[in-house]
């Protein structure tokens, strides 16, 4: 009899202990759990500090993509209408988010570090058409001291498409 009560108390003590410990779940839409640094979420097309786009329209990301999710079309840059350093920029950049598998291979393939998988994971659509993210949706805002593209620049400054970069360590 005493033993049974002891067992009962032992069981209840576990219940009571969990009753007072804070829950591990979060109230999702109101409270968001922060993602880790390396999290691979929605892509972003980056800009340089002066506002020029990093993407040069080389379509290496599209070639690397295992799921064929990326479509890139490049156009010529001129010094009057400059979008990115170098000869070309991406006039169309589309990612089909229904095809994307978030492997981050586009990130690895990019020679100018233009495409980065950022931390947004809230991707849902009402129809298949809106799953195709265009360049306007993917590109980040112009930085504070930068100018919006297309820019008019002095000739001869932005001739190199790929900036000077250190070898990855």
């Amino acid at each position: 009899m005493i033993k049974e009560i002891g067992e009962l108390l032992k069981g209840m003590s576990i219940t009571m202990r969990h009753f007072v410990t804070p829950p591990v779940t979060v109230q999702y839409p109101e409270v968001k759990r922060p993602v880790r640094n390396r999290f691979k979420g929605r892509h972003e097309l980056k800009r340089y500090d002066n506002g020029l786009e990093k993407c040069i329209g080389c379509a290496l990301c599209a070639a690397a993509c295992p799921a064929d999710a990326i479509f890139v079309e490049a156009s010529e840059n001129t010094d009057e209408n400059r979008f990115s350093p170098g000869e070309r920029y991406s006039s169309t950049y589309e990612i089909n988010m229904l095809r994307c598998i978030y492997c981050g291979f586009c990130e690895d393939a990019c020679p100018t570090e233009a495409i980065v998988l950022e931390h947004n994971y809230e991707l849902s659509f009402y129809d298949r058409q809106s799953a195709i993210y265009t360049k306007d949706m993917l590109i980040v805002d112009v930085p504070v001291n930068g100018l919006p593209t297309p820019q008019t620049v002095e000739p001869g400054i932005f001739n190199k498409a790929i900036p000077e970069m250190e070898d990855p360590k």
């Binding site: 591990v24 993602v35 880790r36 640094n37 390396r38 999290f39 691979k40 690397a64 295992p66 799921a67 598998i101 978030y102 492997c103 981050g104 291979f105 690895d108 998988l117």
Partner: protein, 400 residues
């Protein structure tokens, strides 16, 4: 009198699936029952056949790495690991030691989260939902680590051909070691629960016994086989990658029942914790990837085996010198273990069936691939395209 006769000869068959509340994934089972006792069992698989092996023949070597990762949602790294190992051997590329250590590290983390997931599902099937909740909560710590390490909670895409994509920093090392300490404490508790809880033991002890002979005959793999006393673990039998430097101790139980399968898997976790600590404390220095990996791979064929959480994953890869594999054959552990469920089912209560099925840690999406069945005469019953086509024509002609 007449009625009795027919009832004796006729079998009462309970079909379960392909869609059924007791099944997490689609599969069709037919249990012939006598009252509550199962007298015969058959299975029909293939409801989520996706044609991945054929699809691999139309993608290049690199793209396939991501395709094979999606064969299984839980042991995704293992598939990419096996494939990458095979292709690297075919291309005669030596992977740097640090990359190999990181691969094994992720593989062992994956084993922990896979076993914890299985543990939760098994507890749920046994009607012990508290244990299910607890084990899945603890599994989250490993998922968080994997997210921090690779960027994804599942389908980590940690591998590239010729190495790995990311490095393990000191910060990661610290969080992993902390989490492993926490998990070790919890696993001790769980091991205590599954071996002492009287209610739970009623569902597991002495249920679904597969003895050593049966295990050998049915060709069971992985923890299910090790619970029956079969000493079979690719990590020990044919150490690959970093398992050469960091050997693992095989966990073998002899009882062969469901309890033994719980104990084997939980004890394996302790080995994984030990190995993770050892790798993190003795991480080899060096590159993460080889400098150059060929786009075309010279003609040849290779097999690659890796011990997945569920058992041995086997890949056969053949190249004809092109940018794409000529043939990719995958054999997954669940495929091999499925026969054991059917054999063990006979003589058990119908209510034990979910537990028996979950005892092998089934993965239905792994399961759905073509099989060549060896008939009793010993020859493979291979169907040519013409024969298959003729069969289709005849089948539908008969129907009309």
């Amino acid at each position: 009198m007449m009625l009795e006769m027919t009832q004796k000869e006729e079998k009462f068959i309970i079909p379960i699936g392909p869609q059924h509340p007791a099944l997490k994934e689609p599969g069709h089972f037919e249990f012939a029952v006598d009252g509550e006792l199962v007298t015969d069992a058959t299975v029909r698989l293939g409801y989520v056949h996706r044609g991945i092996e054929k699809g691999a023949e139309a993608r290049n070597w690199n793209q396939n790495l991501y395709l094979v990762e999606r064969i299984c949602g839980i042991c995704s790294h293992i598939h990419a690991f096996t494939y990458a190992r095979g292709v690297e051997r075919l291309a005669e590329v030596e992977v740097p030691p640090r990359a190999q250590a990181i691969r094994v590290l992720v593989a062992e983390l994956e084993r922990i989260h896979s076993h914890m997931l299985w543990f939760g599902v098994a507890a749920h099937e046994a009607g012990f939902d508290t244990l299910f909740m607890f084990s899945w909560r603890d599994r989250e710590t490993i998922m968080d680590i994997l997210e921090g390490l690779t960027g994804n909670r599942v389908n980590y895409s940690a591998n590239v051909l010729g190495g790995v994509k990311f490095d393990v920093t000191d910060e990661h090392r610290k969080t992993i070691l902390e989490a492993v300490d926490f998990m070790e404490k919890r696993t001790k508790h769980y091991l205590n629960v599954v071996t002492t809880d009287a209610m739970f033991l009623q569902r597991t002890r002495g249920i679904g016994v597969a003895n050593l002979q049966q295990a050998h005959r049915l060709g069971i793999l992985g923890p299910t086989a090790r619970a029956s006393g079969v000493k079979r673990d690719v990590r020990v039998d044919a150490p690959y990658s970093a398992y050469k430097q960091f050997p693992i101790k095989m966990v073998v139980e002899t009882a062969g029942d469901l309890e033994a399968r719980f104990v084997v898997r939980l004890k394996e976790l302790f080995e994984s914790y030990r190995l993770i600590r050892e790798i993190l404390n003795n991480m080899p220095e060096g590159d993460l990837q080889v400098k150059r990996f060929p786009r075309r791979i010279k003609p040849g064929e290779v097999i690659s085996r890796v011990e997945a959480p569920r058992g041995e994953v086997f890949y056969y890869i053949r190249s004809n010198g092109g940018e794409m594999p000529e043939r990719l054959k995958v054999r997954t552990p669940t495929m091999m273990n499925m026969a054991s469920v059917l054999a063990m089912a006979v003589g058990h209560q119908l209510a034990d069936m979910p537990m028996l099925l979950v005892g092998i840690d089934p993965c239905f999406s792994c399961n759905d691939r073509g099989v060549a069945i060896c008939n009793s005469k010993g020859d493979h019953d291979q169907w040519t395209w013409e024969r298959l086509r003729q069969h289709g024509i005849d089948f539908y002609a008969e129907k009309v």
